[in-house]
């Protein structure tokens, strides 16, 4: 559905995206991750056709971007990280405008307001909405025309736990109905929970692309924190069980009988992300 080949985007001398290649399958919930300044937003801008790449090709549903942007406009939706509503309009008026532009009937507007639990605030001016409501209104707007591809930039930022769950369920049900979802987020728990595949980007380059489970399996570090006492003093040591010498050290401490506690450290996707992007805390 989305095919990126050797994408390069330069701003003057600075290369924001450097030879990125990846493909996203139809109906996939694809996570696009990277630390700040990794080139995620730049890539997203190229995908939605508002930024021209310096080189490389991008194909969405068989159409080249940005040359054939007009052809794919009706089949994609884009939820930006900053909301862009018409502040003078109510939530309903905002949705009605976009429904008209997509030639969607007005009852879809009511349906969408209901699905995203915005029906009670539908006739309130958007400037009176909370950040979470604004975010949900954005999602509602971009789902009006039943897009085949949905780009989301931080979809659950500023949402409370209930709304976050609501959005995650909605995204899952969308992918089950064949919609391709391309999402960027900094919420690693979310990535682990909802993404089918994940691409990690750093300094404009693709580091790896795989499922979250595979990432964890491949990069998980089996470490334990051991607390022990010696010469009436307390000590704390982190040992990597993947290393033979450290396994021997742990056995030695246990045999001596002066261990006051052993705690295993969970290694999740967030740790993988930090490790791969060089953001580990020492």
């Amino acid at each position: 559905m989305i095919k990126i080949d050797q994408l390069v985007v330069r701003y003057g001398d600075f290369t924001a995206v450097d030879g990125l290649s990846l493909s996203v399958r139809p109906g996939e919930l694809f996570g696009f991750l990277g630390p700040n300044g990794a080139g995620k937003s730049t890539t997203m801008k190229v995908l939605i056709g508002i930024l021209r790449p310096s080189s490389g090709t991008v194909e969405i549903a068989g159409y080249r971007i940005p040359e054939q942007l007009g052809k794919i406009k009706p089949i994609f939706g884009y939820v930006p990280d900053t909301e862009n509503h018409i502040e003078e309009f109510t939530g309903r008026q905002n949705l009605e405008l976009f429904a008209d532009l997509y030639s969607v009937s007005r009852h879809v507007v009511d349906e969408m307001l209901l699905r995203l639990e915005l029906d009670e605030a539908a006739d309130v001016l958007v400037r009176g909405y909370s950040k979470g409501m604004r975010k949900k209104l954005l999602l509602a707007r971009e789902l009006l025309h039943s897009p085949k591809i949905l780009y989301l930039d931080e979809p659950t930022a500023n949402l409370d736990s209930h709304s976050t769950e609501l959005v995650r369920r909605m995204l899952r049900s969308l992918t089950q109905s064949g919609v391709t979802v391309f999402v960027t987020t900094h919420n690693m728990e979310e990535v682990e929970e909802i993404c089918d595949r994940v691409a990690i980007l750093s300094h404009g380059k693709l580091i790896e692309c795989d499922t979250p489970g595979s990432f964890v399996a491949r990069y998980a570090e089996h470490k334990v924190v051991v607390r022990y006492e010696k010469d009436q003093q307390s000590f704390r040591e982190t040992l990597n069980l993947a290393e033979e010498s450290e396994r021997t050290r742990l056995a030695e401490l246990v045999q001596r009988g002066n261990c006051s506690g052993i705690q295993s450290r969970d290694f999740n996707f967030d740790d993988v992300f930090r490790k791969l992007t060089g953001q580990e805390f020492t």
Binding site: E88, F89, L97, S103
Partner: protein, 370 residues
């Protein structure tokens, strides 16, 4: 480039709703119309017993035609010069009278006839009392002679000896500032302000706000094309501009509403203002910068116009500004009806507007909506 009327209608509706929710913009348009009303009320000719005598020395078909086209509202009498008593070289008119004296062409020694000599005579110190009669006399003469009546004319108080007569355009160009401050110059200035506000300032304000909020990008990512966004914006601002201009004209000079050339110039100027506004909104990242640049543009026009009166080099700068052509054209059209074929500066105005529109459309397409 596809333009679908349905999309234009939706976008126009959106702009109207947005303007309606923006009371300051609506209030400012209302204020401009209120100013026109005040000007019109303040400058209204007092109802008096004023009469106008059209005096001729030689009968002709033209005089006959003038007699058939007399207006109903004004008291105008067409009489031969022999009917009036003389005091030396001058004719003596009854009290509360003004006059349009039509002297026959002089025949030179080489038998070449000079144009008809017209003298507009007014009582006291206010030549404006002639205006209601000139609004009848000029169109009636143009109807007979065509676009450029072969006149040499001058405006003098009653009883003052004749001076060298000049052509109508020379008369306009040679007028003193006091002569120029008339309803026409006020209307020209107000129309310019209306067009600047509705087509440049308001457009910059709304477009920059859209850009800053990202609404423009959101709209552009729907099936609407950039051409449709631009067309809708153009129609929206043009409608407001022409609506407000009509109100100003209806209040200040209703007769001008029927002049096709004036409307052509107003439409062209509005388009030019929109092109400038679109360019400014495209090049500036924030609404504040765009607003400041718009005001600087307005000031810049004024400064260049002033400097051109002091330094001839600025005349060259003025050649590239469409205001150099549109302002005199509006003024001349309000003063006397011109035809499209004889409008001075219409072609350069058209070319400049086309250039600006092309530049604005290219810039907006590349950068403006992102």
């Amino acid at each position: 480039m596809k333009i679908r009327p349905r999309m234009i209608r939706i976008l126009l509706l959106r702009e109207c709703r947005r303007l309606w929710k923006n009371p300051s913009a609506v209030m400012l348009v209302g204020l401009l119309i209120a100013i026109s009303l005040l000007v019109a009320t303040g400058g209204a000719e007092p109802k008096s017993e004023m009469r106008c005598w059209v005096v001729y020395w030689q009968d002709s078909d033209w005089i006959d035609q003038l007699k058939t086209r007399l207006p109903e509202r004004e008291e105008i009498h067409i009489e031969p010069a022999s009917r009036f008593p003389r005091a030396g070289e001058h004719l003596v008119y009854p009290k509360n009278s003004c006059a349009i004296e039509i002297r026959p062409p002089r025949v030179d020694s080489d038998a070449e006839a000079t144009p008809v000599r017209i003298t507009y005579r007014y009582p006291g110190k206010d030549p404006n009392v002639l205006m209601p009669y000139l609004r009848w006399f000029w169109p009636a003469s143009i109807h007979y002679f065509g676009d450029a009546p072969p006149f040499l004319q001058q405006t003098l108080p009653i009883g003052v000896p004749l001076r060298r007569a000049v052509t109508p355009l020379e008369n306009l160009q040679d007028s003193s500032v006091a002569d120029l401050v008339t309803t026409e110059i006020t209307a020209t200035a107000l129309l310019f302000v209306v067009q600047f506000f509705t087509c440049c300032h308001l457009l910059v304000s709304l477009t920059s706000q859209d850009r800053e909020r990202g609404t423009l990008t959101a709209l552009a990512l729907t099936p609407v094309s950039i051409a449709e966004i631009l067309t809708a914006r153009c129609l929206f601002h043009l409608t407001i501009s022409l609506g407000a201009s009509s109100a100003v004209l209806a209040i200040l000079q209703p007769s001008a509403l029927a002049q096709p050339l004036l409307w052509i110039v107003l439409v062209l100027t509005s388009l030019g203002m929109m092109a400038i506004g679109t360019t400014i909104a495209t090049l500036c990242r924030t609404q504040t910068t765009a607003g400041l640049l718009t005001l600087s543009y307005m000031l810049g026009v004024g400064v260049v116009f002033y400097l051109s009166t002091q330094f001839p080099a600025f005349d060259w700068v003025k050649l590239g500004m469409f205001e150099r052509y549109s302002l005199p054209l509006v003024y001349l059209n309000l003063k006397l009806p011109l035809s499209i074929t004889r409008a001075p500066g219409l072609i350069p105005l058209l070319l400049l507007i086309m250039t600006w529109l092309t530049v604005a459309a290219i810039l907006f397409r590349r950068y403006g909506w992102r």
